[in-house]
Assembly symmetry: C2
Homo-oligomer: 306 residues x 2
Amino acid sequence: MSLLISGSIGIDNIKTPTASEDGLLGGSAAYAALAAGLFVKPVHLVGIVGADFPKAHLDMLTGKGIELGSVERSAGESFTWSGEYHADMNTRDTLKVGINVLEHWQPKLSAEAAGVKFAMLGNMSPDNQLQTLEQCKAVEFVAADTMDLWINIANDRLHDVMKKLDLLVINDGEAKQFTGTSNLIEAGRRLQQKGPKYVVVKRGEHGSFLFGNGPEEFFACSAYPLSSVFDPTGAGDSFLGGMIGWLASQSKSKPTFEELKVAVAHGSVVASFTCEAFSTQRLERVDGADVKKRLEELKAYTAFAA
Amino acid sequence: MSLLISGSIGIDNIKTPTASEDGLLGGSAAYAALAAGLFVKPVHLVGIVGADFPKAHLDMLTGKGIELGSVERSAGESFTWSGEYHADMNTRDTLKVGINVLEHWQPKLSAEAAGVKFAMLGNMSPDNQLQTLEQCKAVEFVAADTMDLWINIANDRLHDVMKKLDLLVINDGEAKQFTGTSNLIEAGRRLQQKGPKYVVVKRGEHGSFLFGNGPEEFFACSAYPLSSVFDPTGAGDSFLGGMIGWLASQSKSKPTFEELKVAVAHGSVVASFTCEAFSTQRLERVDGADVKKRLEELKAYTAFAA
């Protein structure tokens, strides 16, 4: 079924304890679109890039079945992020952010993008999330991510977004911040009260929690175990991209809770690939057999016979 | 099958953001013995208490099928710990520790305790762990816990303990500290290289990882979800007590990896009860049906159909 993914597309410069690389493809929508493209095509990407944006990145996306008809080409400079990971790989410093072309961007959807049934509003300003959604004429399932910045500076608009969501995906620290509780189970339930029918709280190396209807609809998904993490940038975006891509591939616009669980497991597996190289470099080489193998391993790693 | 649990038995004074209580039953072996007693009887408790130790605590343990023949009664003051939890319930300050009778204790096992097949060496000094083990004449499965204090001040002796273990259970922060890596998968494998055939890394609210033989023997167990945690003291001790109690109940001294997985799930469920009241107060009211219900819920919360 048809899918759009809206969000940032940028140029990342990343340093880890063992390596560094500049000029990498980055941005919430870029990661998510590649992840979703593993399961469904086409993926309509909605975003903006500047005149300095490497043509090679755009060509790679096109080659992976990502439709760029709703990606605006601006004369300005591209969104860019520079960051450095600490030795534990769980914390990082942002060295530099250039909002650039994102500052005055207003998403403009192609006719095809405006007609999708599934929409993912990747991490970007709540205004841009709402502007994307307003142009969707036939959407039946809407998922979104967000971050601490928007909880702090655009809380009211973020609450407007929440009311329109079928699924919110958010990381654990931000879930606690947004709801004012340190208990993640309670945080998930409080987030549902803000609007989304389903909530996923991402817990990094520990996996994720999925909250559905009432206490019985709960799913604790472990992360796919990695004995080394090369670069976790974009893992969360790939997770949601993998989830919504798999859901869109099932040809049902109102997934059941059981389908949401399987989508979460797919998201976990896809995120694990992202952590194994800079940027989308590992994700670009993944195929359906790779995903299936890790999914079966994840199932074996988490099942018990009692 | 027969089981002993050696470790500290103490008096706790605990303050949480919502309540406080003094004179509580505490200590690694006390929690673990009650947890194990849910699955197997008798449990031979090995420890020491002072003249000030409340008779009511000892009577309660006896009433639960815990054998106190290897619990030394000393004229000194009992081991005691006073602590205060922070608002997030994941961190705490130790306000006061009285080592007291534990300082010069040398465990002395009754003939019955010395004949057990299963031994749990709860968190205590590596010397006390080794002294307990030396008296076991017929032991076939040995599990132990430890803490940062012993990693810091008794590292060599702790390595001696490691060489004698079938199973080490340790929390995530201490696993990282002991192995010098921030990756928990890598930390688990490095701990196995120190001796234990099996390693469990406890991850608090996130659950635990079980490591067996090679990359295929891996189990990620989620914690039983609690929307509020009243007092997490003793959760880790109850976890290991629940594990070893269930293993001992299976009448096989060399459990398979699949049985270890089920034991971890039982440990998770038992630990969840401990978090719901001060001390062992909730654990004392749990029965087999309560455990079975949560075990089935945990299974449903973690299974997916893909």
